[in-house]
Amino acid sequence: MASEGGPPSLGAGGSGGWEPARTGSGPDEETFRLHPLTPLALGGRILGLLVVFTLFSLAGQRADQGGGPNVVALTLYGGLAVLVVVRGLITVAVTRYHLFGGELRIDSGLLAKQSKRVRLDRVQSVDVLQPLSARIFGLAEVKVTTAGTERSAVHLRFLALPVARQLRADLLGRAGGGGEGAPEAPERPVAAVPHGQLVKAVLLEMVSWRLGLVLVGPVLTVVGRRNGHGATTGVGVVIIVWFVFLVVIDVWRRISTLWDFTLTDSPDGLRIRHGLLSTSRQTVPPGRIQAVLIHQPVGWRLFGWAQIRMNVAGYAGGTDARSTMLLPVADREYALALVGWLLGGIDLSTIPLDRPPRRAAARAPLWWRAQLVGSDEHVLVSRHGLLSRTIDIVPHERTQSTRLTAGPWQRVLGLATVHLDSTRGPVKIRAANRDAAAARLLFDLQVDRARRARLGRWSPSAPRPG
């Protein structure tokens, strides 16, 4: 995947390349433990809250002047803190991980022992995450995602950052058959998101029909004022405050997680790095991206911006939304070129798209015109959305299963929908409301293309899982 051509250049590229740490060729089996400071990072949030509470009660006591210190509260806080730390210490004491050949094994549990094995050739991605509480102590979490169905990710919380990096290089090296003690692979910058553009993009992303809801508060306030109805005014003001609060929180969350977003390419795979306070460094080995989408919120279309998201097996769709981000904002042309490169040198603009037959308007009144689908020998592409626009792309070799569906109303109109099933993630691809006979032709064609793609896949650069 990364071998030919090289990524389309964007000019900027902030790769803060770290020094390749190298361990000597140790024994075949390596056994590690978690870092002793882990309890502080694990209980970070609770400990932080307890410190704040303690300060508050001390300050309150000083203000009161009289009366002894609030012994009960302080004892309670102290006890809780000790409990949290002890629990963390036990975790550290009983958790061991072993790296042996093509396998990572994690043993944990004080009373109920449990042992997890991860086959490294099944690894879908390796992430080094630094939540704020861990970052303070220079610790990091290693998250190994495998191709299971649910709860298949393995978390190693927490290791010293250099150890975590070395482990990641090791895991990826072994996953790619490079053997243990592999140095970190060199990186090539692909894309970086400038701070200004990110902030603008996040703000513009909020432009949608939901913006109308913002008016509810002010309208209620004004109406209440006019009619001298105090309760209405009160409700209006509460809604305004609540809305501002939600928006600020949401904007802050998005900007802080996507801050300093850089995408680099290395023989290990794509490296995705982002985060202001809590940082995350993902590595997706070559050939692990199952499907891609290019999304343009309505507010971005004027600027010609787009974002790229991906399906990677093992990344959950809903809760793990951040980790499916491939590039939060870039020029649309660049996004198209990048996706074409990622999928092995495809020019998306040469794929002709067509729309459903006119009678589909009876089922999808306005947006039938926007349900475009096209395909070539490598990928199926669908574009949908009238205002915000999304292009979904699935390579034939990544299609899991193919479905054809038709509801009662579709059958009356002689229409059917073809779905290509991909792993869980933001990309959901379908050819909606096609003419029924054409849909069956497309369905059979896709089944055949997927079969041929499965047989003739795996270029030498893509290590074969399983």
């Binding site: 899991q400 059958r411 069956r440």
Partner: protein, 162 residues
């Protein structure tokens, strides 16, 4: 079935056991009929006409259900092809799924208590995609178990990872 959801030429569908319809009709009669009677009686306490209307509507709905269970039974079909399994079902909402053997992660044979008492099982195919949802209902164990074994075997032979 014909049209876009038809089996490929010269390959007729394998059909499921008609006991699937018997089971569903038994559930319909066992649950739907008493429920209709109770609701109609309760309405009848308030007004005799209302009770009559509710009862009549209930019976019509039950009859429609009885009829559609028959149609649904005929819609089920599966076909083992050289590289994939093809499954179709649904009379009102039709669907056709093709699951390549190489993509199967596991094959389940399930049976709930009601299914068991009618001697039926469901064979379910899982891929790495959550949306695949390929299952064949209303199989007898004597058909389902060899089917599962064949599917598993072919899955191993064709395995192509993700």
């Amino acid at each position: 079935m014909e049209g876009p959801f038809a089996a490929p030429p010269d390959h007729p569908w394998s059909r499921v056991s008609p006991r699937l319809a018997s089971m569903r009709r038994a559930v319909l009669a066992g649950v739907g009929l008493p429920a209709t009677v109770v609701i109609a009686y309760a309405c009848g306490l308030a007004s005799a006409t209302a009770g009559g209307i509710v009862g009549a509507v209930g019976l019509v709905v039950l009859a429609a259900g009885w009829f559609s269970i028959g149609r649904n039974l005929k819609s089920w079909g599966y076909l083992e092809r050289s590289d994939d399994l093809m499954v179709t079902h649904g009379a009102l909402f039709q669907r056709l799924v093709v699951v390549p053997y190489g993509r199967m992660q596991l094959v389940d044979v399930e049976a709930g208590p009601i299914e068991r008492s009618f001697g039926l099982v469901t064979v379910k195919l899982h891929t790495a995609a959550a949306t695949t949802d390929a299952r064949v209902r209303g199989l007898t164990p004597s058909v389902a178990e060899p089917l599962r074994d064949r599917l598993t075997q072919r899955g191993e032979a064709h395995a192509s990872g993700l």
